[in-house]
Amino acid sequence: MKKILLLLSLTLLMAWQPAFAAEVQLMTKEELKSRLDTGDVTVLDVRSGRDWGSSEFKIQGAFRASGGDIAKWSKDYQKDQKLVLYCA
């Protein structure tokens, strides 16, 4: 898990959208690690294609989501839900 967390890179997806820009925050890997055990975050792996396929490290329990389809999958989550997107 440590190795996985070392690779975490939290990104601001779709930051250009004003609706998100004000609220999206970065999370350190230590903070994410502590929150993973409590289960109050949902991790979304937004890597796609070979970026995802070639990587050996995938966070257990993370859901895959396409960065381009944010409008589609964002409806599946409540507004107050903490979503962690990682792309590297």
Binding site: L7, S48, G49, R50, D51, W52, G53, S54, E56, A88
Partner: protein
């Protein structure tokens, strides 16, 4: 003769040892279980027969895409178009895909702080620079890459088989289905396969080398990893290496992946340059055409690959469809070469080589299956037709210009 055989072996096994082939083998072993082994024997036999068939007319350019053989069947312009369509997209797309995989492997296995894309670009620059060196040095580098990748894979396989508590016979009882899509996909393992007509036994050297390496690897993989895991993994080679040897196994697999990538790209680059020389009718390395090709071809390919990497094609599912399309084009070209050899044999001796004809029919069925079984067949067909049209236009323009300005590029004594 030994030198020719070794050269044929190192050029032909370049693609065999790349991470893409390891994924095909791993997923195939997961889906088919022990049946993958006899299937691999059948595929090696099929390619040996087809290579022998292609080699029989004794055309001098079977190492460089078989343009002269194809020309006897289709004429110069279609033959050039088909040869270009079979090799150039494969080189560009394989380079893009393999460099991304190598970048991730280097980052995750060796240096966490080194950016994966940084490594991909660095490797691209190194491989491009290598192509600017004299051919003798490129071939030596290719031998080094192939030996490193093949040696690493053999070490992992033998270590895995000999140190396992599970008897191999028990592993081989796990069976799957031969009627899975993987059975046709395994034919793509030998992309870029060539046989040197100067060598009597080169027709079976690459298929047998592939059979030996992959048989051991399949047994080792099935010994340590469940078939379900092998089928579903996007990197079955790394999963197996980790299970077999732990951290050293990961590192060894990292070396195999990077050297396999270098071998595949270098091998395809050499093949493409040889093919272009054959189309131009040039066979002297000192000719103006060869010298121009040496200084312009690899930088051009590196630039296109770099653009594809930078524009994010690696993160797009489309890359997998395009790469599969490029591999299908190679297989179609190889099948056409077999056809041309059959036709040539019929014209010359009024006989049809039956075993070769049966193998050619099998290749045709596999081609059909690879296209129709693909979930993205519409995109695939659009890609196939687009490449064929573009390469057809390119070859028409090339031959048209050469008709207006004959022998413009032919100096320093080359023959046409």
């Amino acid at each position: 003769m030994k030198q020719h055989l070794f050269l044929s072996l190192t050029l032909g096994t370049g693609w065999l040892l790349c991470p893409e082939s390891l994924v095909m083998v791993g997923n195939g072993a997961g889906q088919m279980g022990w049946i993958a082994l006899p299937l691999l024997v059948a595929i090696a036999l099929l390619y040996s027969i087809c290579n022998k068939l292609i080699q029989t007319p004794r055309f001098p350019d079977t190492t460089g895409g078989g343009f002269l053989l194809l020309k006897t069947m289709t004429g110069a312009i279609p033959a050039a178009g088909i040869s270009l369509a079979a090799f150039i997209p494969l080189l560009i797309l394989a380079a893009t895909a393999l460099l991304v995989t190598s970048g991730y492997t280097f980052n995750e296995v060796f240096l966490y702080w080194f950016p994966n894309f940084g490594f991909s670009f660095l490797l691209l620059a190194l491989l491009c620079t290598l192509q600017l060196l004299p051919e003798k040095l490129i071939v030596r580098a290719q031998i080094f890459f192939v030996c490193l990748a093949a040696g690493g894979l053999l070490i992992l396989s033998v270590y895995g088989i000999t140190t396992s508590d599970i008897p191999t016979t028990a592993v081989l009882k796990e069976s799957g289905s031969i009627w899975s899509s993987s059975s046709a996909i395994l034919l793509l393992l030998f992309a870029g396969l060539t046989c040197n007509s100067n060598t009597q036994h080169s027709f079976f050297s690459v298929p047998v080398a592939g059979l030996l390496i992959f048989s051991l690897w399949i047994v080792a993989s099935l010994t340590y990893v469940s078939p379900e895991r092998l089928t579903s993994s996007t990197i079955p080679y790394m999963t197996a290496a980790r299970k077999i040897m732990g951290e050293p196994g990961r590192q060894l697999m990292g070396i195999i992946v990077i050297s396999g990538t270098c071998a595949a790209i270098t091998g395809l680059m050499l093949l493409c340059k040889q093919m272009l020389c054959n189309i131009a009718g040039v066979n002297s390395p000192n000719s103006k055409f060869s010298r121009n090709l040496r200084w312009s071809f690899s930088p051009l390919i590196a630039m296109i690959t770099g653009i594809l990497l930078a524009t994010g094609l690696a993160g797009d599912e489309l890359l997998e469809v395009l790469l599969r399309g490029a591999l299908i084009l190679w297989l179609a070209h190889y099948t056409l070469l077999c056809f041309a050899a059959i036709l040539h044999s019929y014209r010359k001796a009024k006989t049809v080589p039956w075993t070769g004809s049966v193998c050619t029919c099998v290749l045709m069925v596999a081609l059909f299956s690879l296209i129709t079984d693909n979930p993205h067949r519409m995109e695939l067909l659009v890609f196939l037709f687009s490449v064929l049209i573009i390469s057809g236009l390119f070859s028409t323009i090339w031959f048209y210009i050469n008709t207006i300005h004959p022998n413009k590029h032919l100096t320093n004594g080359e023959n046409r």
